[in-house]
């Protein structure tokens, strides 16, 4: 398989090995940047590169990654979403509220319930986008304020400082330690969610439909995709991932606050875009997104380890994001080539 791929590439020489290394969405470039950063750290502050450092990076990136998954789906399909944080906080908070009010407790099912609530909230976006063909950014802007307003007005606006004991125990369960840094067990469901989404995108017809709709909606229709149905699936699934992410956030922070998360959507969008998802759609991958989140998290933690004043952090992150989107924009400027016409004069 690989052998004949190489043979074919050599034969046509359209895709040199370098391009293959770069990856379809510049994932290779991103990995290179991450390695470079680590190298810089190694030179500047070798003592900082410990297993504990890795643990910190994982812990701080976990919620962002969970939030990024649903968003990735939407961005690949050519849409934009700012409602996912509201969906996440609604799902997480409502679940805990319900558990507290009814006095029930659990470890696994709260995650499923939150995901189900997220899915239901995602249906709002699905209706607006698939039926009313509303511009996705505008639609999600509307649903964000509606969902968050509904949460605060009708579900609750109080800070729940303690979680039900069993649920709380998830937040204190360490699966393994990286040096001094404990890694929470929720890394497992988040990793599973990543794998699941990667499988959906790469191995299912629905996933192919997501790329098809993002690549060219009209063409997708012409080959027989039911575009509205694909979009409905996308927004339901994105809601599901957002709901799940909300519970991950609740468990890791060990409290439930209805005021969390909303406001950080732009950071998540930035991580996904740096990860190679193209804002005009059709591109993006789970491993790219993982790398994007990793990069942002790495930068954040490196600043801490290097003892740089926290006043610099937002600025540096902003710079990283700016450079990231700029690189993506430049490398995607290709493809605007004209077809070759001129025929060489045959001797």
């Amino acid at each position: 398989m690989t052998a004949d791929v190489h043979a074919e590439r050599a034969a046509t020489s359209r895709r040199p090995g370098l391009a293959a290394l770069r990856g379809r969405n510049n994932e290779g470039v991103l990995a290179g940047v991450i390695l470079l950063l680590l190298l810089v750290m190694l030179v500047v502050e070798p003592s900082a590169l410990t297993w504990g450092f890795a643990g910190d990076i994982i812990r701080s990136g976990l919620v962002t990654l969970a939030l990024a998954l649903g968003l990735l789906l939407i961005i690949i399909s050519g849409g934009m979403d700012v409602s996912f944080t509201a969906i996440a906080v609604f799902s997480g908070y409502a679940t805990v509220r319900l558990m507290t009010d009814l006095g029930i407790d659990g470890r696994v099912w709260p995650f499923l319930l939150a995901a189900a609530i997220g899915c239901a909230l995602g249906s709002l976006n699905a209706v607006l986008v698939a039926r009313y063909r509303m511009e996705t950014l505008i639609a999600s802007l509307g649903t964000q304020v509606i969902i968050r307003g509904f949460l605060l007005a009708f579900v609750g606006s109080t800070y729940l400082a303690t979680l039900p004991p069993q649920l709380d125990s998830v937040g204190t369960t360490t699966i393994f330690r990286l040096g001094s840094s404990p890694v929470n067990i929720v890394v497992v469901p988040v990793a599973l969610a990543c794998v699941a989404l990667a499988l959906i995108l790469r191995r299912t017809m629905f996933g192919r439909g997501v790329y098809a709709v993002g690549g060219d909606k009209e063409s997708a229709r012409r080959v027989g995709f039911h575009v509205a149905r694909v979009q409905t699936g996308i927004y339901l699934l994105a809601g599901l991932f957002a709901g799940f992410a909300g519970m991950v956030h609740v468990v890791l922070s060990r409290h439930a606050s209805p005021f969390d998360l909303v406001g950080m959507e732009l950071n998540v969008i930035a991580a996904v875009v740096i990860g190679g998802a193209l804002d005009r759609g059709g591109r993006g991958s789970v491993h790219g997104t993982v790398l994007g989140v990793l990069l942002v998290s790495l930068v954040q933690n490196s600043l801490v380890r290097l003892g740089i004043s926290s006043y610099w952090h937002v600025l540096v992150i902003g710079l990283v994001i700016l450079v990231g989107v700029a690189i993506q924009a430049r490398s995607n400027a290709r493809g605007a080539k004209r077809p070759r016409i001129l025929e060489e004069v045959t001797p």
Partner: protein
């Protein structure tokens, strides 16, 4: 052959958009193993018919019978399930996916598969590519492919399925001769396998060459239908255009002392064209023609500063100019009516008035950047009157106009720049006969007044009707010239295809 069963029979198909009737009770049929040519000029309803039969659009009336079952309307999926495949004119590929993924796409969608195996996708794609004897890099992304290869990918995608009726909408436009041969070989192969092929084209040579039967559409109606043997070049052209194609050759009066208006010397652009040299004098109408993908549009866009050049010189009105951008061209007095009216020419949702001033905003602005609205109004009124544009109010959106009047608006916005050289790229494509004649008359009038006009077109009667000289371009190089009485339809056509 007539014993073969009908693969497709569409009867009484009617379709209107808004108030405009695109198809009026069209009957079309094709038998298994038959190549039907569906011929028709732009706007004759060909594309609409294809969309209806492939389920992309629903008809208002009529039935579609495929392989024995008949239906009022089809979804894309149903059409595909019944063996209909279309190679659309725009190819409808996914630029973000690889060749293999594109080729396998229709087959996977149609099989109702839920899962994807990259291995199987590749195997499927490879088998189709090999069956057709093509060379395609299965892992390349379609956006990186040249147009001809994209066309081949589109063909492969259609053939990856068990196809019974294959529509090919202008499939040869972007292909080289060699590739057209390959395509025709594939068509013959499919025909032997009993596939019904509907070949859409308005290139008469091609139509006569490849088909068994011809159905001609004009203004949404079938105007001719019969075995190919019953047609010859002239009768086919007549059926296509609806009138004897020979338009009167009326030339504008050449100016007595015409100075050179545009001189192009050794113009070149990497991969696009090379050694392009020609010149126009004031008041001269010169045709520049070649097949699609010959480089004719690129040469025009290079002179207009839209395509970067890599060598050569351009002189306008005797002065050498360096045209690196459109503003340079405008300053030198070159105007360009682009080929794709809808995306490049007209602002559909903006008013007719703003459309008409869009190329001359600088000249209708007073000192300090404030718009001079009476100057704008005057310019708009002048254009409307001068070009006899049929409009409601100048504030109506350009969308409300007919194609012909939209084109007049685009023409008007460029005439307002008062250019010494006017380049037009396919100015009458998709324009009704009346507007076409009117546009030609405008051009003659402007030429008499001293404007040099470079008309890029492959509408042979049009070229013959107006041009003092016709230049030919082929694969990026100038390939000949006709002048004066040499310009006849048969001469131009012959030069065009050889």
């Amino acid at each position: 052959m007539s014993e073969r069963p009908f693969a497709l029979r569409a009867s009484g198909v009617t379709k209107s958009y808004g108030g405009v009737r695109a198809l009026a009770g069209v009957d079309v049929h094709v038998r298994a193993g038959e190549v039907l040519c569906l011929a028709g000029a732009n706007g004759s309803g060909k594309s609409t018919l294809i969309k209806i039969i492939s389920g992309v659009e629903n008809p208002d009336h009529g039935t579609i019978e495929l392989g024995g079952t008949s239906a009022q309307r089809l979804t894309v999926k149903e059409a595909v399930d019944r063996g209909v495949q279309v190679i659309f004119q725009d190819m409808s590929l996914f630029p973000n996916l690889t060749v293999a993924e594109n080729i396998a796409m229709s087959a996977r969608v149609s099989s109702n598969a839920r899962w994807i195996s990259e291995r199987k996708e590749r195997a499927l794609a490879r088998s189709v590519v090999e069956r057709l004897g093509l060379r395609l890099d299965l892992d390349a992304e379609v956006q990186d492919l040249p147009v001809a290869d994209r066309q081949l990918v589109a063909i492969c995608r259609a053939l990856a399925l068990d196809v019974k009726v294959l529509f090919m909408d202008e499939p040869t436009t972007a292909l080289t001769w060699h590739e057209v041969e390959t395509l025709f070989r594939v068509v013959a192969q499919l025909k032997e396998q009993g596939v019904a092929i509907v070949f859409v084209s308005h290139k008469t040579d091609e139509v006569l060459d490849i088909s068994d039967r011809i159905t001609v559409l004009r203004n949404g109606e079938v105007v001719a239908d019969g075995p190919t043997a019953e047609f010859d070049h002239a009768s086919l052209v007549e059926a296509l255009l609806g009138y004897s194609a020979t338009e009167d050759r009326v030339l504008s009066q050449a100016l007595a002392a015409a100075a050179p208006a545009l001189e192009v010397e050794g113009l070149a652009a990497t991969d696009l064209f090379a050694d392009v040299s020609f010149s126009l004098v004031q008041g001269e109408v010169v045709g520049l023609t070649g097949l699609l993908g010959s480089g004719r549009s690129e040469v025009a866009e290079a002179i207009f500063g839209k395509v970067p050049t890599t060598g050569g010189r351009v002189r306008v009105a005797g002065r050498e100019v360096s045209i690196e951008g459109i503003d340079d061209a405008l300053r030198a007095g070159v105007a360009y009516v682009p080929s794709d009216r809808l995306t490049q020419g007209v602002f559909l949702d903006q008013s007719i008035a703003t459309n008409l001033v869009s190329a001359t905003i600088g000249t209708v602005t007073r000192r300090g950047g404030v718009l001079d609205e009476s100057a704008m109004a005057a310019q708009v009124d002048d254009a409307v009157r001068d070009l006899a544009i049929k409009i409601g109010e100048p504030t109506d959106p350009a969308r409300s106009l007919s194609g012909g009047n939209q084109q007049k608006v685009v023409l008007g916005k460029w005439l307002a720049t008062d250019p010494g050289v006017l380049i037009l790229n396919g100015p009458t494509v998709g324009v009704d006969a009346g507007s076409k004649a009117a546009i030609m008359e405008i051009l003659r009038r402007k030429a008499s007044a001293g404007m040099a006009i470079l008309l890029i077109s492959d509408d042979v009667p049009e070229l013959v009707s107006i041009c003092h000289r016709v230049l030919f371009i082929r694969r990026g190089r100038m390939s000949g010239e006709l002048a004066g009485d040499e310009i006849t339809e048969s001469n131009v056509r012959e030069r065009l295809v050889t």
